[in-house]
């Protein structure tokens, strides 16, 4: 079973050289820490920055330079700044190769719910609806089950949707799964020490698994 950093580490292996990537808040943010050496990646922050760098050194914070999570950050050589309309313009026109974000639920046809729980204070969708509706390649980083022990991989989402038929891949503490074009979760890799049966029990949506699902390698 993976911890959050393990999930981030596994997702980092999906990033290819030359990718422009948008990382959501939470586990996706951690992915930046595990991008392999020699892989050139540019991180987009949808508030208007390409080429997001690490946090500033203490005392060097700049109130004018933040990421979409409102954290102080830095630029890198080759960074560019632009307004919000252009930022979502490049998202809609699919110039961003990969979007990684968290989710409350994913359905077996690739629907995602991650912004609203009825009865709870709703903070808003931010840029998530734009990202999931436009990205050509979306990976969800999340826990396989919620705090109540219920599967978050469902036949259909029960929560209000963020986007429909858009998620291609899910990485959880238990497994890597693809969403099949015809519907259903295809088990690609198991987390170290986790059995197919265990994953099957934690997955309410339709799960397809070969007899011999490899254990993931994180190195």
């Amino acid at each position: 079973m993976l911890d959050k950093d393990g999930i981030a580490k596994r997702i980092a292996r999906e990033i290819k050289d030359g990718f422009y990537v948008n990382l959501g808040i939470g586990i996706p943010t951690l992915v930046a820490n595990y991008i392999p050496e020699g892989i050139n990646v540019v991180l987009q922050s949808e508030n208007g920055l390409l080429g997001m760098g690490p946090f500033p050194f203490e005392g060097e914070e700049d109130a004018d330079l933040i990421n979409a999570g409102k954290q102080t950050i830095t630029t890198l050589p080759g960074s560019s700044i632009f307004d919000s309309a252009m930022s979502f313009g490049m998202i809609r026109s699919q110039k961003i190769d990969l979007t990684i974000l968290g989710a409350m639920e994913v359905s077996e046809n690739g629907d995602i719910a991650n912004w609203k729980i009825p009865g709870k204070m709703v903070k808003g969708m931010g840029g998530a609806m734009d990202l999931v509706a436009s990205a050509k390649n979306i990976i969800v980083a999340m826990q396989h089950v919620n705090k109540a022990g219920e599967s978050k991989l469902l036949p259909t989402c029960t929560l209000p949707l963020t986007g429909v038929n858009c998620i291609k891949k899910i990485v959880t503490e238990l497994a890597v799964l693809d969403v099949l074009p015809g519907g259903g979760f295809k088990l690609i890799e198991r987390a170290p020490g986790v059995s197919v049966d265990y994953i099957r029990q934690a997955t309410t949506g339709k799960l397809f698994a070969d007899d011999d699902v490899p254990e993931m390698s994180l190195n």
């Binding site: 203490e58 004018d64 933040i66 990421n67 700044i81 919000s84 204070m121 609806m129 949707l161």
Partner: protein, 233 residues
């Protein structure tokens, strides 16, 4: 060149009236028009509809206007860093329309570019699509979203000149340029106001034609919402 300079925030916002719709630039607390917000609180104008990506925090930004119950409706993509906001929302005092961030930006841009509506895939198949026209282009569904219609746009820039030209600094640019284009009246506060001719025409982000009033603001706090740092080895 046409001179757009006014004396300060009080004069700039003097004709904003109860019930007006305002666009307010900024992302979180980054790039918000601090001086104009202070002046709006002082003026006490009420029943405002505010189009702004966020709603500030309890004691800063639009949060200050919420404290004074000046806002009737927020149109935002992400809110709730703000206890007073939550209280007013749950009590029904405050109306909130949540829309996707890219839709928010593009509806501003549409107004500035004279396009009555735009198409975006954001929100297709979700509750955001309710009551909206869905249209298929090349096999993909899009929502038709209308240009915003705001009485005033209030933006914050880094530098500006007397002709109203604006230059933004780093990610405090965010929504400011698209809102600056979109207001019937656009008010710009800047950290440094210079004479026309002092800014390189190639570096200007917002041409002065979009800006009706400009002034040099004072006492910028530029508060940081999430101070994240690393330590030197």
């Amino acid at each position: 060149m046409i001179n757009k300079v006014v004396s300060g925030a009080d004069e700039a916002i003097s004709d904003i009236e109860n019930g007006n719709t305002l666009m307010l630039g900024g992302f979180g607390l980054c790039g918000i028009p601090e001086n104009c917000i202070t002046a709006l609180v002082k003026k006490g104008v009420k029943d405002l509809t505010c189009i702004s990506n966020n709603a500030g925090v309890d004691d800063f930004g639009i949060g200050l206007m919420l404290q004074k119950r000046q806002v009737k409706k927020m149109i935002s993509s992400y809110v709730g860093e703000n206890a007073e906001f939550e209280r007013q929302l749950l009590s029904g005092e405050l109306e909130v329309e949540l829309i996707p961030q890219g839709t928010l930006a593009t509806r501003c841009m549409a107004a500035g570019y004279g396009m009555p509506a735009i198409f975006t895939p954001a929100g297709v198949g979700t509750e955001v699509a309710e009551g909206k026209e869905v249209r298929n282009f090349n096999g993909k569904d899009y929502l038709m979203e209308y240009a915003f219609d705001a009485d005033f746009a209030i933006v914050k820039a880094w530098k500006g000149d007397t002709a109203g030209n604006l230059i933004f600094r780093s990610t405090s640019r965010n929504f400011n340029p698209v809102m600056a284009m979109a207001g019937k009246i656009t008010i710009a506060e800047v950290e440094e106001l210079v004479e026309a001719g002092q800014l390189d025409p190639d570096h200007i982000h917002t041409p002065g034609v979009f800006v009706h009033r400009i002034f040099q603001g004072a006492n910028y706090e530029k508060r940081i919402e999430q101070r994240t740092v690393r330590t030197k080895n």
